[in-house]
Structures are given as structure tokens and as C-alpha cells.
Symmetry: C2
Subunit: 548 residues, 2 copies
């Protein structure tokens, strides 16, 4: 970085300025439904008996500066990533080979796999799959090198915050441009905001448009849902039923307004009706006709408020059932199987959900000559594209469970984990989904020494991403407290894909593949475990800059 | 009424239907900012320390049926009413004559009048006045006669709920038409909602569009503000300053989102910046140059968060300072004088505020030969229009303070008040603004007997409006409780006027006169004092019907 954009960012606030800015953000947030239902830590259940209260989502008061080149790289790669994960989810054999060892020790992955096997045996009746994805990255700046992009994870299920992130970008744009971009009342002057004197000596030479770029997350995601809805084709019911999309949601969801932003847009832009189905009601509110009645297995939704009017479900959009802890009812797994075997297009299928597991992410990093999975899954792409995509992988390794591992990758992993010098730059992550805590840095060697070597294979060693250390921001929490300090940001890029998997083929036929919209999440940089302890993990937007 | 539309309205709800409807209204309200800040009865100040929480505005679950002819009559009369009050506010001599007696006993009216006199002596520097009006009516159905419209009051200051009422109409329309008007999931079938079987035997023959008419209150009100802003002309400051509108607001306003709907629309549709000014900050955040510096008295606003950028105020829009209780600071009256003498267009001036007092409303009802105020103020209108307007007056009388009153109107008032038979149909209202409680029906004769006859003139006797008795609805309160029962509704029609008053003339030159948008407020019909005790006073919308 030629110029440290954080040297004087965000600008200092006088007491009057902070009062005005905070008051504006509080009211703007409620006015534009940049809101969440408050946690019981903010308002107890006794007071909020009828669950009517709402509060602002936790947001930063300022957008965070982000290098334009990295943002563009992430956007350019999104459609390639979409295609990669469509290909992975379509290759059952490859998935099975990679996940086999893990399925033996991880009940959650094992149960998902069993659902796939059960439906496979009965025969899938839907060959389309929809993915609403979010690829998450951090900036990596080891030893103050120019920032590069490293992928944290690729979300294949329940990618959230598309709805609210659009509004955060609008909020920060409002703050930077009201009543005019030349003289905003909420933000003090700063070189990163567009000002008439930006070419003068007021701050470093930075090229910026002065406010966040437009965020198209909502229209991108709903266009994906609409593409699947339309590709579903005519009703398979006898007699035919009107179509709908189901939003599968948690029973006590607090992030409802993020989801409503999508369902409302889906209706306003595409005239597609959708209904919210809590996971506890899957088996009571939906049904599949018996094989004898209708072998096509349409998924029928009966609204509890209007049981005389049934709908046929074209798409089940999962905003729930992604984590092991959500399968807490005796019927949870039966409900998941019920949905999977139906003719509704699943967003995602169990295979697509499995494709997003940490193990897959780690295996993809293997380099030739050991394996070149990117070449395998993306045969039609230039080497330069694959190389660009590969550059976003943070090095990660499985750990050999045997003393005589022949896999050079695993050998290297063990070596890096056991040496305090190299362990210093790594994190040890359990492979299990929804598993325990991460082990950081020099705690890794003694930890590995404390467990049986046979259990090492349950962990992945990952090189720690080193984000910029001087980034700062101020946030408004959902309880109204203002907190400030050093921060780490994570960029998410949204994308969607719809593809057909033909019987006997492991290659997807991609019908729809788009990129659009972003999320920036910013948390306190005060511990490896991040901002939860500090109560500072906020929705953010970005202000792009390029060094001149 | 040929058909009692309330005989089976609103439709009965099953438990599942009510759950779904209530849940939908709760979430829709927050998603669309049909919200208020909760009262301390809902969440105590200790819990809501940072004032971040919001909750749904109290709303009815269903729109209330309303006769189409009465709605159209109210709309047709609005521009005539706008003109009437512009004429009243322009006629200082008439106002003084009417209010003189009252000013002697009412400090509040007296202080307002003093401000007018002070500015008059100094000389007004702004000859434009803006009125954002709301004329409120109830349906009058004595002895089950066909419903007619009676005016409750004409608001000339702080006419509120334009922003939220637009959203209530949208909410009820959503509930009646999602996912389709033929098969809404939130409302059970009913003849008042458009259904394919509406011509069948399902319910009475009623002509309806099945959902509330569009509500243009926000665009009407902001167009009025914009008309005044543009009529203000170039900056009067030296050097010139950028223009803005000030929303004068209460320090602890809970109804902020109603106001934000206007300020946001004002910027989005008209690109006019506005700022919120709490009444406690009038004298610190605004200033008027000294006579020597600039005799034009521009009102200068200095945003506390950005003091280097000053604005010139084109319009002061009062959403505060309408009630005596708000003048609780030692500087309150000085602040009001400060605004009144400035060059900013006032919405309203003190003369326009005085024109909205109950006394004026009562005097207007005088009939020829005693006086024909309508003919005086609206000379250009057909007798039929004036007669139509007069038909909306509820009979009301001042009470003679002397035993030998020569005024036939006052004599009639005394006679009606003292007879238990006629008192039964009346209410006795204090003339003082913000005064005590009303005296109802047979309590009137003993009450008058208990006070000195010299105090009778402080009261107005008004014939009670007799609303339909069978109206019912269900409401969701801001604390999430669902209440139901017999209701009374009050219809408000919004209108705006901008006029110029020339020196020496008592006739306004009207530059802008519009009608648009409505409010329906519905409260429990369980006592003369209305729904406050029952905790049931809600924002509503209407579903128009005409008997076939």
C-alpha cells in the first residue's frame, strides 16, 4: 500500500458530530428496515412478550476503505467459483471419495450423505439445483506487502445478509451525500469522501468516488430464485396447483428483515409468491402425494391460515437447517429427507451443502502433481483464470493420521503444525461441521501432543490470514452503544447458479450463472476469536480506493 | 344504509388465521417503517437507554368499511376548506373580533395574539403563508338515518399521520391482495374483498374494489412544502446561503417515522434538504441578522454537526409548539416570536394557528340572518358548494354569559344545555386550547348549575355526532396485544394551501391549493371519552362501498 488510507480514517468526531451521526443512523435504520429483532440480552422475553420490538442491525458508522483491485478481483472470480461448486456438487464420486474418511467420524455429514443415498436409491425426480452463494474473503498483508485476497469460506447454504447489506451501502451513501456530496452534514471532511478540495493538500492522493459502490445483492439473489422458479416448468400436480417458493426459516429467527428484503423483492420484481416455513412445520404444512397417486412427487404447501388454497413448491430456499444444532427435533432428519426427495428445486441439495464443507475447501488447495482439482472441474478455463482463482486460496493442510503418510501435503501439514516457529502463523480447525473451537498459533504443538495421533485427521491446519493491522472504525451496536477501535473486515461476494445434472454424467449443465452484490462484515481486531467477546461485529460497506 | 355492511364484518378468524395475520402485520410494519418509538409503558427508559427500539404503530387488522359518497364529499370539500381557512387567517380584524373575548381568559391564545401584534408592529417581512391541513370528520347516523359527514375539527398546525396513513393503506392492500386478490392468504373470504364469487349469494350486494383506495398524503404534503420552498425565492442572506426546510419537532417525539416519511420524500422527489430542529434548540441553532446588517431577516440555520455550513430557512414546518404544554421553557415564547418575525415561510403563522381554534369553528356555524361567514370568506363560490360545506358542520353554540343575551344563537345554546332532554344529545367543551375535560349529556345541566354564570362563556355546546353503532374491528397495539370490539372511526382528509397576504388587504392571493390523501383513526366505542382507556386507538384505512 503506497498510502496508508487508515492513517487518519475514520475522521475524528466532535461530540455534536457524533450525536448527530448516531441519531441519524438510529432513525435511518428503522426507517429503512436495516433492523433485527433484539436479542434477549437487549430486551428480556418477559418485556418483549409479543415479539414486536425491533432495533437497528449492528452497523459501522463509516464505510471501510477497501482496495479497488481486490474488490474487482473478487467480483471477476465469482462466476468461476459458482461454476466450480456446481461441478463439485454434480460429481458424486469425487465427493464421496473426499468425504469418506470424515463421514466415519462426523454424524452430521454422515446424516446428510445418507439422505443423498436414500433419494438416489429411490431415484431423484428433480435434476435442477439452485445455488445462492457467497464467497468470503479477507485481505492478506503479510509484512506490509500489498494486499491480496484470501478466501475464508465459500457458502453454499443460507448465505445471509444480502438484504441488509444493500441497505448498509445505502445508509453510508446517504451519510456521505446528504444534503450534497460537497457538504454532507453527517460526515466531517475527509479525502476518502468526494469533496471539491480533494485534489488539494487535504490528505493523501487517493482515487475514490466518495461513497460505497451500488450493491445489487437483493436483485441478484431474487433473479436466481426467479430463474429456478421459471425453470421448474408447469405444475406436476393433479389437478394443477399455483406455484410458490418456500423460505425455510428457523423458528426463532431474529434476522427476519434480511429475509423479507428478498421475499418482498421477489414479489415486487418477479410477481412470485413466497411463504415462510419454519423448520418445525415442514412435515405438517407440506406433503408429497403417494407414488401411486402421483409419481412426480410435487411438494404441496398448505398455508395454515388458508388451508383451502394449496400451492406447489417450485423452490425450497434454505435459510435454516445448515448447522447440526438445528436438527434438534426427532423428526428433523425425516423432514430434510422429505424435502430432498420432492420435486421442488432445492437451494441447496444435500450434495451442494456437502460441497461447502471445510474439507472440500482444503482439498481444493492441493497442488499438482499431487492433484489438480481446478483443472478437473473447470476444464474450459484459461490457466490464467485458474491461477487467479488459486491465488485466493489460503494454504491449508490435512494432518496425517499415520506416521508413515505418503501424502506429501499431509506430511507438510504435520511439519508446520509441530514446529512452534511455523505454527505461529497457523490455525488448527476441527473438520467437523459445527464443531468445537479453533486452536491458534503456538497452542497448536502442545494441543496435538495432548491428543491421540489417530485423532489428528479430524483437524485442518490453515495458514492465518494477516489482515491490515491499522484499520479502524466506529460501530453502533443493536443496543445503541457506540464502540470503536481496530477492526478486521471480511468481504463477501454474492453469486447464483442454476444447473441441471444429467443421469450418468458428473458434469453440470449450467443454465444461469451470475455475480452481484457484496457484504462487508467488520469486527473488532482484539483477539483471534474475533469480535463476539467485544460485542462488535457489524454490517459495513466499502469505499473503494486506488493508489495514484 | 340499505345494507348493514358490519353485520358480518370483519370476518371471523380461526386461531391459525389470527396467528398468521398478526405475525404478518408485525413484520410488515417493521419492514415498511409503519413504526413508532415505544412508550415507556411498553419498555422502560432503563432498558431502552439509548432509544434504539421501535415497534409497530397501533393498527387495525382490517380496513374499515366507509360509504363512498361520504368519502368523495370530504375530498370535494377539501380545497374549499383550504380556501376558507386561508381567508380567515388573512382577515386580522375578523379574527380579533371573534377571539377578543376569549383572549381575555385564555393565556395561550393571548400569547399567540401578542406575537402577532409584536411582529405587526415591527412589520412582517414574509407575506406568504403555508397551510398543511387535515379536516377531520365522523359519520353521523342519528336514528339509523343514511350516514352524513360531520366535521370534528379542522387542523391548521402539526397535522400528523400523513406518513404512516399511507403505509396503513398499503398494509391493508397487501393483506387483501397477496399473493393474489382472488386468493389472499391473510384474509378470509368476505364480500367486501374482491373475490370471483362476489356476485353470488356470498354476503350482501356491495360494490367495492376490495382494498383501500391509494393514499397520496405524503406526496400531497411534500408538494405543498416544495411549493412554499420554491416560492420563497432567492436567498436573502449576504452572502447568499443554500436553502433548506426546517422540521420543528418535539424533543421526545415518538412519532418520528411519520415525520421521516415526509422529509425523505421531500428530498427524493424534490431534492429539497431538510433538518430536524427540536424546539429546545430554536434559539441556539437559528439566528436572524441584526436590522443594520440585513433588514430582510433571513432565518439562518447552523447544523450543530457541521457549523461551518450554514443554511437559509425557506419554510419552518411546525410539528411542535401546537399545545400550551409545549411552551414549558422560559424561552419558549421568545423562540416562537423569533421564528414568526423571520423571513421564513411559516407553516403555520400564529394567525393561521389561531384560525384553527375551536371558537372559530363554532362561530362559522352561525346562520343567516345573524351572520353568513361562509358567504363573506368564500364570495366566489356557488351557493350549492357553501351549502354542501355547511352540511358538514355539527351544530354548536356559545353560551351566553348574561341573562339578557340578545344573541339568538347564544340563547338557543343555553336552552339546549339546561334541558336534560336536549342536553342528552350534546357535549360541553371548554373553549380554552389544551383545557380540561369535556362534559357529556345529562351531566351538563348540573355542571352549569355548579359554576358561576359568568364562566359559561368559556364553554361551547356541541351536538354529539352519532356514529354507526355496529362498526367492529380488531387492532394490534404497539405492545403486540390484539384487541377487538365496537369501534368509532374518524376520517381525515389532507390538503395544502400557499397564499400571499397583501398589506392593507384581508383577501388572500392563493398560489397553491391541493387535496390528497386520507387518515382513518379508529378507536374503541366503549365510552364518550373514547379509546384511550381501552388502549385501543389505531391507525386504519378504509374500504369504500356503495349500496347497489
Amino acid at each position: 500500500m503506497a498510502v496508508n488510507v487508515y492513517s487518519n480514517y475514520p475522521p475524528e468526531l466532535t461530540s455534536d458530530q457524533e450525536d448527530f451521526l448516531v441519531q441519524t443512523v438510529k432513525n435511518w435504520s428503522v426507517e429503512h428496515a436495516l433492523t433485527v429483532r433484539p436479542s434477549t440480552a437487549i430486551v428480556s422475553q418477559e418485556i418483549n412478550t409479543n415479539n414486536v420490538l425491533a432495533t437497528n442491525a449492528p452497523v459501522t458508522l463509516f464505510p471501510s476503505p477497501f482496495p479497488k483491485a481486490c474488490f474487482q478481483q473478487a467480483r471477476c472470480l465469482q462466476q468461476v467459483y459458482n461454476e466450480l461448486y456446481a461441478a463439485i456438487a454434480s460429481d458424486q464420486e469425487w465427493l464421496e471419495a473426499v468425504l469418506k474418511e470424515l463421514i466415519e467420524v462426523d454424524d452430521f455429514l454422515a446424516n446428510l450423505w445418507k439422505i443423498h443415498l436414500a433419494v438416489k436409491e429411490e431415484g431423484y425426480v428433480q435434476d435442477l439445483t439452485l445455488g445462492l452463494f457467497r464467497s468470503d474473503y479477507m485481505l492478506h498483508t503479510p509484512d506490509d506487502a500489498p494486499p491480496s485476497l484470501k478466501q475464508v469460506e465459500f457458502n453454499t447454504i443460507s448465505s445471509s445478509f444480502g438484504g441488509l447489506s444493500v441497505k448498509v451501502a445505502q445508509l453510508h451513501t446517504h451519510l456521505a451525500t446528504y444534503p450534497s456530496a460537497k457538504q454532507p452534514v453527517a460526515y466531517p471532511p475527509h479525502a476518502l469522501f468526494a469533496r471539491p478540495d480533494k485534489d488539494s493538500s487535504n490528505g493523501p492522493s487517493i482515487n475514490t468516488i466518495g461513497h460505497p459502490p451500488p450493491n445489487s445483492a437483493v436483485s441478484t439473489l431474487t433473479a436466481g430464485l426467479a430463474a429456478a422458479h421459471n425453470a421448474y416448468g408447469p405444475s406436476k400436480s393433479i389437478p394443477q396447483l399455483p406455484p410458490c417458493i418456500l423460505f425455510l426459516v428457523q423458528d426463532n429467527e431474529r434476522n427476519v428483515f434480511d429475509q423479507y428484503a428478498l421475499s418482498t423483492n421477489l414479489y415486487e420484481e418477479h410477481r412470485i409468491p413466497s411463504f415462510r416455513l419454519p423448520t418445525s412445520k415442514i412435515l405438517t404444512s407440506t406433503s408429497i402425494p403417494s407414488k401411486e397417486t402421483n409419481p412426480n412427487r410435487p411438494l404441496i404447501y398448505t398455508p395454515p391460515s388458508s388451508p383451502e388454497t394449496q400451492y406447489e413448491v417450485t423452490v425450497v430456499y434454505f435459510r435454516a437447517l445448515y448447522a447440526p444444532s438445528e436438527y434438534d427435533l426427532p423428526t428433523s432428519w425425516a423432514a430434510r429427507l422429505h424435502l430432498e426427495r420432492s420435486a421442488a428445486i432445492k437451494c441447496p441439495t444435500v450434495l451442494l451443502q456437502l460441497s461447502g464443507s471445510k474439507k472440500i475447501q482444503q482439498v481444493l488447495t492441493s497442488l499438482p502433481p499431487e492433484a489438480d482439482h481446478l483443472q478437473h472441474f473447470l476444464p474450459g478455463h484459461d490457466a490464467s483464470i485458474l491461477s487467479n482463482l488459486r491465488s485466493t486460496f489460503a494454504p491449508q493442510y490435512s494432518l496425517s493420521s499415520e506416521g508413515t503418510a505418503s501424502d506429501s501435503d499431509e506430511i507438510q501439514g504435520v511439519r508446520l503444525a509441530l514446529s512452534p516457529t511455523t505454527a505461529q502463523h497457523h490455525v488448527l480447525k476441527p473438520q467437523r461441521e459445527g464443531g468445537g473451537n479453533n486452536i491458534y498459533r503456538t497452542n497448536i504443538p502442545p494441543f496435538l501432543a495432548s491428543i491421540p495421533r489417530s485423532q489428528w485427521k479430524q483437524y485442518i491446519l490453515m495458514e492465518l490470514i494477516q489482515p491490515p493491522t491499522s484499520a479502524k472504525n466506529v460501530a453502533l451496536r443493536s443496543d445503541g452503544q457506540v464502540v470503536r477501535g481496530n477492526v478486521i473486515s471480511e468481504l463477501g461476494i454474492f453469486g447464483t447458479a442454476l444447473w441441471k445434472t444429467s443421469t450418468g454424467s458428473s458434469k453440470p449443465d449450467i443454465l444461469h450463472n451470475t455475480e452481484g452484490g457484496y457484504l462487508l462484515r467488520t469486527k473488532a481486531n482484539d483477539s483471534d476469536e474475533g469480535g463476539v467477546a467485544a460485542g462488535f461485529s457489524s454490517l459495513d460497506s466499502l469505499i473503494l480506493y486506488e493508489d495514484l
